[in-house]
């Protein structure tokens, strides 16, 4: 789950050569180039830890919260590893979710249930399910490996005063996604995702994600402080508030082993 948001962000971006006025490419080439550049800029973090506060709101405005500590690790030549540790609500305190994303094929995922001290393997091929009851699906959070989508550059557009590239993203394996396509707004200056529109399988607008309060860490890593996902069909929304970002904290592969799930607190 760690790189979820960052992944989304990463997918936006345009090749430097394009911005500099290099020869025109077709929309697919350009879309891929943007996604690759955003992915490149997102990476290089090594490892990180962060705190995530999740606020779920229903259509009547009732709120419920979750507190999650997240750590992530870049893996050379493969998808990233992440560990989510729940601090609240109290009944799921200590529950942990370990994910190994892969560039191709199904990700690996384990759930640790502290009451039973049980490590449960969970299926991860279909990522359209809700993440802990929020408006974020697993795929919004962890399924954004470059190789799992095709990309298309649609147009350039100004979004709230920021020059953006608008990219269309389509899942390679349709049956494992809840979306027919996504439309992503990426700012031209830093390749940060500012907005995503999600279209359901009937091609109707399902959700909109707004990403805000970006801050630069470790000289080159842009990370958002706030992400708001609104479901237009149910009226529900989920806000993610990111804080306490730390990079290069010295985490190792062993910190992301299934064995370590028994020890994480």
């Amino acid at each position: 789950m760690t790189q979820r948001h960052t992944r989304i962000i990463a997918v936006c971006g345009i090749a430097v050569s394009l911005a500099a006025g290099a020869p025109a490419q077709d929309p697919a080439q350009r879309g891929l180039a943007v996604a690759q550049e955003a992915d490149r800029r997102y990476h290089g973090y090594g490892d990180f830890t962060a705190h995530l506060e999740m606020i779920l709101r229903n259509s009547r405005g009732q709120e419920s919260r979750r507190d999650i500590r997240i750590q992530g690790l870049e893996v050379a030549g493969d998808g990233d590893k992440s560990l989510c540790l729940f601090d609240s609500p109290a009944d799921i305190k200590g529950t942990a979710l370990l994910t190994y994303t892969h560039k191709t094929g199904d990700d690996d995922q384990w759930l640790y249930l502290p009451a039973l001290k049980r490590i449960k393997r969970i299926t991860s091929s279909n990522k359209s399910g809700s993440f802990v009851g929020s408006e974020f699906a697993y795929e919004d959070i962890a399924g954004q490996e470059l190789e799992k989508h095709t990309h298309l550059h649609l147009r350039d557009e100004v979004l709230d005063g920021t020059d953006c590239l608008v990219i269309e993203r389509t899942p390679v394996v349709q049956k494992n996604s809840g979306y027919s396509r996504q439309q992503v707004w990426i700012d031209k200056a830093e390749y940060r995702t500012l907005k995503v529109e999600f279209f359901d399988r009937r091609k109707a607008l399902l959700k909109t994600l707004m990403v805000a309060d970006y801050r630069k860490y470790a000289d080159s890593l842009w990370r958002p402080g706030r992400m708001t996902m609104t479901n237009h069909q149910t009226g529900k929304s989920t806000e993610l508030i990111w804080s306490d970002y730390q990079f290069q904290t010295g985490l190792k592969a062993g910190d992301f082993s299934t064995d370590n799930l028994l020890r994480v607190r």
């Binding site: 419920s64 750590q71 009944d91 001290k117 091929s125 399910g129 009851g133 607190r265």
Partner: protein, 427 residues
């Protein structure tokens, strides 16, 4: 994580004042103030939580059980109410070692055997870069399947808690573990044996004859003090997780031996044989399926036997775009002792449906059906739960025993259909 590093770096209050001209006074006061700081650092939940080094959590729960048939046996009651609590204290030093303390207690209105306390965990865990060492009372779970837990051998079942057998008594242990890219080796020495708990005379969900829990029979001359041993190798290989172990010790599953007590009344005395057991557990996801297998071979005082349980779980995500996830569980359990098995699940098929609406209250409903393939015996189970606010959780369990045949181990439970409602406060 980040927060705890900050906390480790921040000096205790007492040390900060120890400078310059006040050094002399401080030299005297230092041990006291540092001790005070240490104690307050450990005990203050707010500071501890912020530091990520001390955590306190747990629950207090009220429970009511209602048995909707008249009891089969004299002394048994129609219902019971109880209160249970399980706080948990955890402290970690320097990321290397930790202390965990988890006491548990229940007070029950009708069954004195169900009124009990236990130390679920009280252990010191030392983490070295090369190995891990745990000493104290601990809990270990091994297994893959949903309905029957066959390979889970370390902890004794706290049977009086719940008939699902998932509550366990704390087990005294020394654990040595070493992990690497090649997998993980876990070696346990278990220097004390815990006897299984059973409902008392007034309790339901018990055999017709009293279980004389106070007079168990052990095959081992050392009785409870036999040192049991288990070594397990586990690994994730490709998409597959598996574990294989060998256990040498006293069987956690007692045979209930019919005899008479000192007063000449018929009783069942638990007989604990010494066994050697090998066990295998495996979880293998492919697409939306997860294949699961648990198998054991056990031999000891009685003839050796083989038992296995396995099956698959299929997950339907976001059914018809309702947001609801459905999990379909199909499992089968086999025990080659047949009718002589110490488990009712000797040739049984299980079907389960897990419904997760993925709402903010984490509502979860599990419907289960267990069908014996040799006779008409079947068990229907409903387990439902949801969160109320951010600290409360309500759970409803319903167990129905149907068509129990006289030879079935659950035959004495034929009138014990029950509903259990629990309201728990988590902190």
């Amino acid at each position: 994580m980040s927060a705890q590093h900050v906390a480790y770096g921040s000096p205790p209050v007492g040390r900060a004042t120890c400078d310059g001209r006040r050094a002399k006074t401080c030299a005297v006061l230092r041990p006291v103030s540092c001790l005070f700081c240490l104690v307050s650092w450990i005990l203050c939940p707010a500071a501890g939580l912020a530091a990520g080094t001390t955590q306190i959590r747990g629950y207090v729960a009220g429970e009511g059980r209602y048995f909707y048939h008249y009891p089969s046996f004299a002394d048994q009651e129609r219902s019971n109410a109880s209160v249970a609590a399980q706080p948990e204290y955890y402290h970690r030093w320097d990321n290397d070692s930790s202390l965990t303390f988890v006491p548990f207690g229940r007070v029950d209105s009708t069954d004195p055997e169900r009124t009990h306390i236990d130390i679920r965990e009280l252990n010191y865990d030392y983490i070295h870069p090369e190995f891990e060492l745990r000493v104290g009372i601990g809990k270990v779970f091994w297994g893959a399947t949903e309905f029957v837990h066959l390979v889970d051998v370390v902890n004794q079942t706290d049977w009086v808690e719940h008939i699902d057998g998932e509550d366990k008594l704390g087990q005294p242990m020394f654990e040595f573990a070493k992990a690497g890219a090649w997998g993980k080796i876990d070696v346990f020495i278990l220097p004390y044996f815990r006897e299984r708990t059973f409902p008392g005379l007034k309790g339901r969900l018990r055999p017709g004859i009293t279980i004389d829990r106070d007079n168990p029979i052990f095959e081992s001359p050392d009785k409870n003090n036999r040192w049991d041993f288990v070594a397990r190798y586990s690994r994730t290989l490709g998409p597959c997780d598996f574990g294989i172990y060998i256990f040498n010790g006293t069987d956690r599953d007692p045979l209930l031996y019919p005899t008479t007590n000192d007063q000449g009344q018929p009783v069942l005395r638990p007989f604990y044989q010494e066994i050697e057991q090998i066990g295998l557990d495996l979880q293998w996801p492919t697409g939306n399926w997860i294949w699961k297998l648990e198998a054991i071979y056990r031999h000891g005082y009685f003839d050796g036997y083989f038992a296995a349980t396995g099956g698959a779980e299929y997950t339907l995500v976001n059914v018809a775009e309702t947001g609801t996830d459905l999990g379909l569980v199909l499992e089968y359990a086999f025990d080659d002792r047949g009718r002589l098995a110490t488990t009712p699940y000797n040739n049984d098929a299980m079907v389960g449906l897990r419904i997760s609406p993925k709402d903010a209250a984490s509502t979860q409903i599990l419907l289960g059906w267990i069908q014996n393939m040799d006779d008409s015996s079947k068990v229907a189970v409903v387990e439902a739960s949801r969160r109320l606010g951010s600290h409360w959780k309500v759970s409803l369990d319903v167990w129905n025993f149907m068509g129990l045949a006289p030879g079935n181990l659950y035959y004495s439970l034929r009138a014990d259909d029950f509903a259990r409602l629990e309201l728990a406060y988590y902190f």
